[in-house]
Symmetry: C2
Subunit: 515 residues, 2 copies
């Protein structure tokens, strides 16, 4: 998280401090305050307090937990008066915070008995698509250009005018698939990713396209993944087909057949429990953790209450706050899986001459973040307060409802690629500085953390969380996000879809040596 | 290298054994021979000999070096009669072969006093382009879609009709640039790669496009690389410009200005010494090492004699034969640099749970390859016999004539990307199974190793080295390749250019953890 910039828009109403969760005993200052400045709830600042810092919302006794985002971020080390600054001088890590406390804080959310519905594409797998694309899935970079040529040939023929229920043709092109070991975690990670796209409910049909001599063999994908329903899955290699021209001709004919089949699908009502939401933040700023992320957390909790699935990822960004997630785990084995991931990451970064950072930086502290838990909570806030129901590897199929974690780097396109491979049929992406991207075949909404971003990049942004700084509640904004997700799931285009994003953002996580 | 398949085309004339270099004392069998079968040069097979195996071309005494590809691959361990099989039973590694013998076998080639010329674009840097493209170079995946939108907008406006000397607009899009450490070899490798494209002579103008918040900062590239000639280099970030729509508008206006400037360039005569040839093999088969690669080696030697530069790469594929290159090094420090690379690779693969393989496999031995030197020589044969003048890191600028080595993985798109970043303005790509790819902004010729491939994939192949199996000499084929390179350098389109390849094959070598 970066420092919070001063709010410069003169039209901004004077919301000066924010409570991020009803159970919090601290507020966050939204601007720098002088002693005596009036806050919310009849409080006033007991001393000068900088923007982004924490303020006691009531008297706090020594040893009492400090609660922010509805989570315990440490304990008071001194008596703290209402309106006083809460920071390194009176807040420390409690012993309690140092252990994983597996499943000690998993409080189930009340299910909503009459769940929301959306209009989706019901697939024979039982999954429901939010879009109905045809995919040209490539095993290797070396078949990427030809995949695009096939899609371009179909576009020249205006093929899809005959098939109005098909949303488009999506070449899934990437930089890897060969020059790698044919076994081990790098290979298995790419394999899972490609398999996940192959099975994705947002594809009404898939053509698997390889070169022929690559490490990642099409035939293995077809066999191991049972991609054998020829009405929906077809495959070919350029070498066996006889080169570019022959492959474009044959591939176009195959896509015509797949399109005719995919065109039979129509939208039908589906319960919100069929939604799988991948959550992401990128280009974060000082507001991300106090506006867009907790608002998305409200939406995530709502989705879980409606029976759906929401996915938190970006393992390096939760580092140091894993204790908070292990305590929310539904059981000890689930919490243990998360710690195993953390251990793997420590090894992964160390063997690559890097390291994980588990201290708030001096800049973080100047910005008002006291402990590493609090820092990572800015990212974890997207995950609301629901129990942690499951922990998954990158691209592993997610087949259960609730709030889950999928391992990934923080790097946006790579993390989202894993979420889509795991089955996400919606993406919600918070941003403070402004990210522009799309993730075909899955629609992605962009959630702006501040008003300035919203105003500067409105054609790219779907939701304005800057309004939270003007007095809109996190709850209201979370409900707005949830409602938008239902509409988008039913076919409403997101800003990034309307602009045509998504042709280059498939970025599988590449682990291991390039050979 | 794979086993040599039987030649099945019944029209193939009976060329049954091939001498790969005039100084060789062995021939290679091109088909399986019975005892007594007539060979070339009045020889006959002294025993049954399988396809791909070596045959003594004259009497060889114990201890005498065995020479193949003009290189010593070991020493006879017994008396060998003309026409007899040369393999594990009578060929071993000589002690001599186990040491690096730095610079002991660097035999200069006679320079050609009236060098060939081509028609190229002379740049103020002193380099000469073989094409005149405009590039949209992205710092990060997150600006890739917008780079493509700008190029698409220009295509819709048919901008280039006004500027006939501009070959096209090339978005350089990739999967990395963020989610990585901002220092260390992974960062520096990507930095060199982007800088190399920024300076490439095949671009008449470059727009650098970033998102804004990425690790790989546009401003650093501009500053450290002196990309400051505003007639040729311009830059912008999406966040600073205000989102997608504003960036496409502003970027289109900038490209119009760059196009007007680039259009002033015209082709003019340039000496062959301005050619920098990146050599590559991909999708190799059993013929690659005896037809296409040594023919390209002849062309490489010719280019060196004309004063040009040819680049061998793909470090894992020369592993085990580094002794041959160190002995050809012009001096000990140059040879030592190669060994340092080899040591780096041993560490790189080991820390990624892999390993380098420095033994011929049982399959290699069945195919007729006796020693690791001989196996890797199939790849090294592309480099002809010229002295090794320099050793470079991936993407490092190559600023000298002669035969040089640039470190890279064997993975084709990744290796070629490094060669282009290092300054290659031509690519020659040998293939046995058939690779289809292109490397904008640099033209790439495809050299087929066998007749079957040539016939099946002719719209993708530029040169037929299958003719070597029918009696065309390596020398004649090498001259044909050299002549084609001059024509392509002057503007003749390669098969891959004519088909529009190159939009997805920019694959920078990603080293290190994705964070
Ligand atoms: Ca982030
Ligand atoms: Ca640990
Ligand atoms: Ca991210
Ligand atoms: Ca060594
Ligand atoms: Ca290669």
């Amino acid at each position: 998280m970066n420092d919070i910039a001063p709010i410069t828009d003169p039209s901004t109403p004077p919301t000066v401090a924010l409570r991020l969760h009803p159970t919090d005993n601290v507020l966050v200052a939204l601007r720098s305050l002088t002693a005596g400045a009036p806050l919310t709830e009849g409080l006033s600042a007991a001393e000068a307090i900088n923007s982004g810092h924490k303020i006691a919302a009531r008297p706090i006794a020594p040893g009492e937990p400090i609660v922010k985002y509805g989570q315990v971020i440490g304990a008071a080390t001194a008596e703290i008066a209402p309106g006083a600054l809460v920071h390194v001088h009176n807040l420390g890590m409690s012993d309690h915070q140092q252990d994983y406390g597996f499943a000690t804080a998993a409080t189930s959310l009340a299910p909503i008995l009459d769940p929301a519905t959306f209009m989706g594409y019901h697939r024979s797998s039982g999954r429901v698509g939010t879009r109905n694309y045809l995919g040209i899935l490539t095993s290797v970079n070396c078949s990427g250009s030809v995949a695009r040529f096939i899609a371009e040939a179909m576009a020249r023929e205006s093929l899809l005018e005959e098939f109005p229920n098909v949303d488009g043709i999506v070449p899934i092109v990437h930089g890897t698939g060969c020059g790698m070991s044919g076994r081990g975690e790098g290979f298995e990670t790419l394999f899972r990713t490609l398999a996940g796209y192959g099975h994705h409910a947002n594809f009404g049909g898939i053509l698997l396209l390889g070169l022929g001599c690559e490490v990642m063999q099409i035939a293995d994908l077809v066999d191991r993944e049972a991609l054998k329903d020829t009405a929906r899955f077809r495959y070919m290699t350029i070498q066996q087909t006889g080169g570019t021209r022959a492959t474009v001709e044959r591939g176009s004919a195959i896509l015509r057949e797949l399109a005719a089949e995919a065109n039979k699908a129509t939208r039908a009502p589906a319960p919100a429990s069929k939604l799988v939401l991948g959550m992401q933040c990128g280009g974060s700023d000082g507001y991300s953790g106090i506006t867009a992320n907790p608002a998305l957390g409200v939406a995530s909790d709502l989705l879980v209450r409606h029976g759906g699935t929401s996915i938190l990822s970006e393992t390096p960004e939760i580092y140091g706050a894993e204790h908070l997630l292990t305590r929310r785990a539904v059981d000890a084995p689930t919490g243990r899986k998360l710690i195993d991931l953390i251990d793997w990451w420590e090894n992964y970064t160390a063997r690559n001459d890097g390291e994980m950072d588990n201290n708030p930086s001096p800049g973080n502290k100047r910005g008002g973040l006291t402990t590493i838990l609090e820092k990572s909570l800015g990212a974890v806030a997207k995950g609301g307060t629901a129990p942690l129901s499951g922990v998954y590897r990158y691209g592993e199929p997610i087949d259960q409802p609730g709030f889950v974690f999928m391992d990934s780097p923080g790097y946006d396109p790579c993390s989202v690629t894993g979420q889509v491979a795991s089955g996400a049929n919606l993406i919600a992406f918070t941003t403070g500085r402004g990210s522009v991207s799309g993730y075909q075949p899955v629609p992605s909404i962009k959630i702006a953390s501040n008003l300035d971003l919203w105003q500067r990049m409105q054609p790219d942004m779907d939701v304005n969380c800057g309004e939270i700084l003007e007095g809109t509640s996190l709850e209201a904004k979370g409900e707005e996000i949830f409602d938008l997700l239902l509409r988008v799931a039913s076919g409403e285009k997101t800003k990034s879809e309307a602009q045509g994003f998504g042709a280059v953002e498939f970025v599988p996580w590449q682990i291991g040596a390039v050979m």
